[in-house]
């Protein structure tokens, strides 16, 4: 059968029409006509992306019985999908179409009309050459499972579970420790209005426990998670009794493993663990929360306290974001209990990111708390007295004494993050927190479709930020994993030819997604179609030419290149 190639040039209003000679393009492209093998139909249109333009295209495809379609218009980023959808309205496979960008790559960058026209022709010829080597691809549909696994039952995990669980969606909430609620249950009060945490967190815990669509597993870990977005096979194991396992399937996974505090013993100059009456912020919170008191080891309330921020900040290489605010809170606890107490807060940088923070800082200052910005700091003991020796920003060295010292250690990723990352095939970044798909544009997704990160698992976060993440993940999953709706996985992916594969496994080592597995029986590498994202790295690395990138085959690229430079 002969190729019937339709080439349609879009005027894009004046954008293309004024900058290139469309008439000349159509004449030269029509000259490529080689009947009966290759029939080229070249036409122009005012605006192909308009409804009228799309109808025109669909009509042309049907009327001319086109086997291939080339559109010379804008960037594929603008209208690739538009024109693929036009193909879908007809019998033409959308992968037998090619969009040639003569607007951004010709019309808009080349002032000389002749030159722009020549490049456009060259470029369209390359497109025609490529399109005839393209193959039809079929989008497959896969059943999806609407249920979700949430790892970690802190405030982020709890909120994520609540926003996801519903009549047609079960949530499996897995917690390593023996109770749910996480770090928040250890605080006495929650910023910014200093209400007690119990009202908020206990109510959430109760709602989770009462929700019949949420199954809570405490003292449990995830042992295995294999699969892809819409269909992960999960195995849980009980930490106390490893034989006790539970298997089920979910469509998505939410990682809400939270944080741990940096151990200040690792920096000896703070004296933690060696000198009496030096506490971490969490120890103070717990004491206050359980007994309502903050006392020295002697049982007396302190007459003076030094609060040191930024413990481990330089060592970890990041600001933990939440400490400044809770240190103001601790200062206020102490002031409420002993109004005459002398409090000094030492900080390297103040971090006041939220709208209520500045006011809280000023309020704390107004209550008589001193703030000192330090360059260096160390805690020293002489007989029974403790001193803070510090260098101020101007280089002056000073010291003060304090009965109680409270440290704000850096927020660290939760213990076991590395194991979870390996289990789910996602990455940790250089700070040890889970790596997001994009720091700015996609902060709760990961490199693996269907695996999300929320709360402090991604970055040190306060409660409202964690809640935001948890509610956002609800949105992400609810819109993508709709009960009964099938998933359409990416079709532009790699495939490995059984006959050519020598089993060297080079492709396995370059794949960022673990999308290729080795079939021991057949001694060949195999692509898991549901996981592959189609980058083509394995194809470029394959020494035996067994790997192919669908829609970006070597032959297709060669044809495009050779025609472009002819």
């Amino acid at each position: 059968m002969s190729d019937r190639i339709g080439v349609y040039v879009c005027e894009c209003g004046p954008n293309i029409a004024d900058k290139v000679d469309i008439k000349r393009i159509l004449t030269e492209i029509s000259d490529l006509n080689e009947p009966p093998e290759k029939i080229i139909i070249a036409k122009k249109h005012k605006l192909l992306c308009s409804k009228e333009g799309q109808d025109f295209l669909a009509g042309e495809i049907i009327e001319n019985e086109l086997t291939h379609l080339v559109i010379a218009a804008c960037s594929p980023r603008d209208h690739d999908i538009t024109f693929m959808n036009v193909c879908k309205r007809t019998d033409l496979n959308p992968y037998l179409y090619k969009l040639v960008n003569i607007r951004e790559h010709c019309a808009w960058i080349i002032p000389d009309k002749d030159e722009a026209t020549e490049k456009a022709i060259q470029y369209i010829r390359a497109g025609i050459s490529r399109v005839t080597y393209q193959s039809p691809l079929t989008e497959k549909e896969l059943d999806s499972i609407p249920d979700v696994l949430v790892i970690g039952a802190g405030i982020a995990g709890i909120e994520a579970s609540l926003s996801l669980a519903g009549e047609k969606r079960k949530v499996y909430l897995v917690e390593k420790t023996s109770s749910i609620g996480g770090n928040v249950t250890r605080f006495e009060k929650i910023l910014p209005h200093q209400g007690t945490n119990l009202d908020i967190i206990q109510e959430k815990i109760k709602t989770v426990q009462e929700n019949e669509n949420i199954k809570v597993f405490t003292e449990t870990e995830v042992e295995k998670a294999i699969g892809f977005f819409g269909n992960f096979e999960i195995t849980l194991k009980n930490i106390q009794d490893e034989e006790q396992k539970k298997e089920f399937k979910v469509g998505a996974i939410v990682v809400a493993t939270g944080f741990n505090l940096f151990n200040p013993e690792k920096i000896p100059r703070y004296g933690y663990g060696k000198i009496e009456d030096i506490y971490t912020s969490m120890e103070i919170e717990e004491s206050n929360s359980k007994t309502g008191k903050i006392l020295l080891k002697s049982g007396k309330p302190p007459k003076s306290a030094a609060l040191i921020h930024c413990v481990g900040r330089e060592e970890k290489g990041y600001c933990s974001r939440v400490c400044c605010n809770y240190m103001f809170k601790i200062a206020q606890y102490l002031k409420e209990k002993t109004p005459a107490i002398k409090i000094t807060e030492f900080y390297q940088d103040l971090c006041l990111p939220n709208k209520a923070d500045q006011e809280f800082y000023v309020d704390t200052k107004n209550k008589g708390v001193d703030f000192i910005c330090f360059k260096d700091i160390a805690v020293k003991q002489k007989d029974k007295d403790k001193f803070i020796e510090y260098t101020k920003m101007d280089g002056k060295k000073e010291k003060i004494s304090a009965e109680m010292i409270i440290l704000a250690p850096a927020i660290e990723p939760a213990v076991g993050s590395k194991d979870i990352a390996e289990l789910l095939n996602i990455s940790l970044d250089e700070t040890g927190f889970f790596q997001e798909a994009h720091q700015k544009l996609n902060p709760i997704a990961t490199s693996i479709d269907g695996v999300f990160i929320v709360g402090s698992a991604q970055n040190p976060k306060n409660i409202p930020d964690s809640m935001m993440d948890a509610q956002a993940v609800g949105g992400k999953i609810l819109t993508q994993l709709i009960p009964g709706v099938k998933l359409v996985p990416e079709v532009i992916i790699s495939e490995i030819s059984d006959a050519f594969c020598t089993g060297c496994q080079t492709c396995l080592s370059v794949c960022s997604y673990g999308a290729i597995y080795f079939d021991e029986d057949r001694n060949i590498s195999v692509v898991n179609e549901a996981i592959c994202r189609g980058c083509g790295n394995c194809v470029a690395s394959c020494p035996s030419g067994a790997a192919h990138a669908k829609h970006f085959t070597s032959l297709q690229i060669y044809q495009e290149v050779l025609e472009a430079i002819r």
């Binding site: 960037s75 960008n101 951004e104 490049k119 083509g536 070597s554 290149v561």
Partner: protein, 140 residues
């Protein structure tokens, strides 16, 4: 005499450099018609053979554009590109081809200006070298 217009094949990754090239266009920046962009999903798709083949079949220069290290849409693809490029440069020198005519540049989706600048400078450089002497002379 007609001005010598080099032919430069540009392999651009879909996510960063290709988008940067689009931005150069929407910003109405100017760069020579010599630049012929070929879009691939990731710079790591670029088999060194593509470059060799383009070089022997009429290209005066080959330019590979990818996301900045650490920003690859596919996480580590561009690191592989970087290694392959280093290897390719060596192979070029070994074969007696001109490795100065190869270029690798990291250009993000927001760097339209950088794309235009690199395109202009690189075209000037290739122009100063003159026509690629290896084209049509070696068959592979």
């Amino acid at each position: 005499m007609k001005e010598y217009k080099p032919k430069i094949v540009c392999f651009l990754c879909k996510w960063c450099t290709s988008a940067g090239a689009d931005l150069a266009g929407t910003s109405r920046l100017k760069y020579p018609a010599s630049i012929l962009p070929i879009r691939v999903m990731c710079s790591s798709r670029i088999d060194p053979m593509f470059v060799v083949k383009a070089f022997l079949n009429g290209a005066d220069g080959v330019f590979i554009g990818g996301c900045h290290p650490g920003d690859c849409h596919y996480h580590e693809g561009n690191y592989h590109t970087r290694r392959r490029f280093a290897m390719l440069t060596k192979v070029f020198d070994t074969l007696g081809l001109d490795s100065k005519r190869l270029k690798l540049s990291w250009i993000s989706a927001s760097e339209g200006t950088k794309f235009a600048k690199v395109s202009n400078e690189y075209t000037e450089k290739i122009k100063s070298y003159g026509e690629n002497p290896s084209k049509w002379n070696v068959f592979l």
